[in-house]
């Protein structure tokens, strides 16, 4: 059995998903599970055609909850490590082994691929950029380690971290810097490694319109209440 699984949440990604999955299959010999988040297009069929496992959510739950579905699946199937990637192809699969390395050796629980540590052609829009700079500073301060890219959805996890992502404590509503602070406060270790990321080909990103403002508010509130909670919470079943 393979010891890790690749989790891809996908919402209306038909046309891009095939290319993304083929790209992964070309460099990594691992099972791929696509969580189809209530897509209205041919996302699920496209994923099935590539041979990936497809989990169909009955309606759109949003990125975090779709991701969490992937982790619940992975734990159920007995995987002890997982890599999460975006469906739009912005994460370069050649970085997968780099991400997995420190999770496999057990030095950290989560490895995050940062687009700002290495060479990158990623240019975020202004309000996004403000949020990124703000939260990476807050997260760096609160966790006592330098964080450059808390938004990155390109991550590798060990079993302990997978259990946290699958638990009810995981903030499914825009998981971001607050997750890193939660990880830190529950005694888990994480690190960033440089990865290549491509500009997302999508015209409308997940953060557009009024959403960035809500995102700012949610993140501030989420981080604040995280600090009010118990530091090493009891594991909930």
């Amino acid at each position: 059995m393979h010891d890790f699984v690749i989790i891809i949440p996908a919402y209306n990604e038909a046309g891009r998903l095939r290319h993304t999955i083929r790209g992964i299959q070309a460099v990594a010999d691992a099972p791929i599970v696509v969580v189809n988040d209530g897509s209205l297009d041919g996302t699920a069929q496209e994923a099935r055609d590539t041979g990936a496992t497809v989990l169909d959510l009955p309606f759109n739950l949003g990125y975090g909850a779709a991701l969490q579905t992937g982790y619940r699946y992975a734990l159920k199937e007995g995987y002890v490590r997982a890599v999460q990637m975006d469906a739009d192809g912005q994460h370069d699969p050649v970085s997968i082994p780099i991400l997995l390395k420190d999770v496999q050796t057990g030095t950290v629980d989560v490895v995050i691929g940062s687009r700002f540590l290495g060479e990158s052609d990623y240019r975020p829009p202004l309000i996004r950029k403000i949020g990124m700079v703000l939260f990476r500073n807050i997260a760096s301060f609160l966790t006592g380690q330098k964080i450059t890219d808390p938004t990155s959805g390109f991550q590798a996890l060990n079993l302990r971290a997978m259990q946290f992502y699958a638990s009810d404590a995981y903030p499914v509503d825009f998981p971001d810097a607050d997750v890193l602070i939660m990880l830190h406060r529950s005694g888990m270790r994480f690190k960033e490694v440089p990865v290549r990321m491509h500009q997302s080909p999508k015209k409308i990103s997940m953060h557009s319109g009024i959403v960035p403002l809500y995102y700012l508010f949610k993140m501030v509130l989420s981080i604040f209440v995280t600090l009010l909670r118990e530091k090493y919470p009891q594991e909930e079943a």
Binding site: L55, D56, L57, P58, A65, T69, Y73, V172
Partner: protein, 111 residues
């Protein structure tokens, strides 16, 4: 308080009370939520009939207008009930998420 207003507010309070009971009887409203509304209906009736109580309370708070006190109570109640509902909605959203995830996992297993 004029007699007309008194009649009107007693009528509103009693109608609300009857309507809530009827909704519970038809199982369109859960008992869990009904008590707050029943209490409201009752309070409207009591305060309309027993005007002295309202006067007494407004004097207690420094001689404000009894009608202003009624508005204040009304606002407070609306605040309370919408917060209560937000909390319920949050829980329902969470339950719904879990249910959808579980369905996706079960559907996969069946294949």
């Amino acid at each position: 308080m004029t007699a007309q207003l008194k009649i009107l507010s007693v009528f509103i309070g009693v109608s609300l009370f009857i309507y809530i009971i009827e909704m519970v009887r038809r199982r369109k409203l859960r008992e869990e939520y009904a008590w707050v509304w029943l209490l409201t209906g009752l309070l409207i009736v009591v305060l309309s009939i027993w005007y002295d109580l309202l006067l007494y309370m407004s004097n207690l708070l420094g001689g404000i207008y009894p009608s202003a006190l009624l508005f204040f109570f009304g606002l407070l109640f609306l605040l309370f009930i919408s917060l209560h509902q937000s909390i319920k909605i949050s829980k329902l959203t969470d339950d719904l998420k879990k249910l959808a995830q579980e369905l996706a996992l079960q559907r996969y297993e069946k294949k």
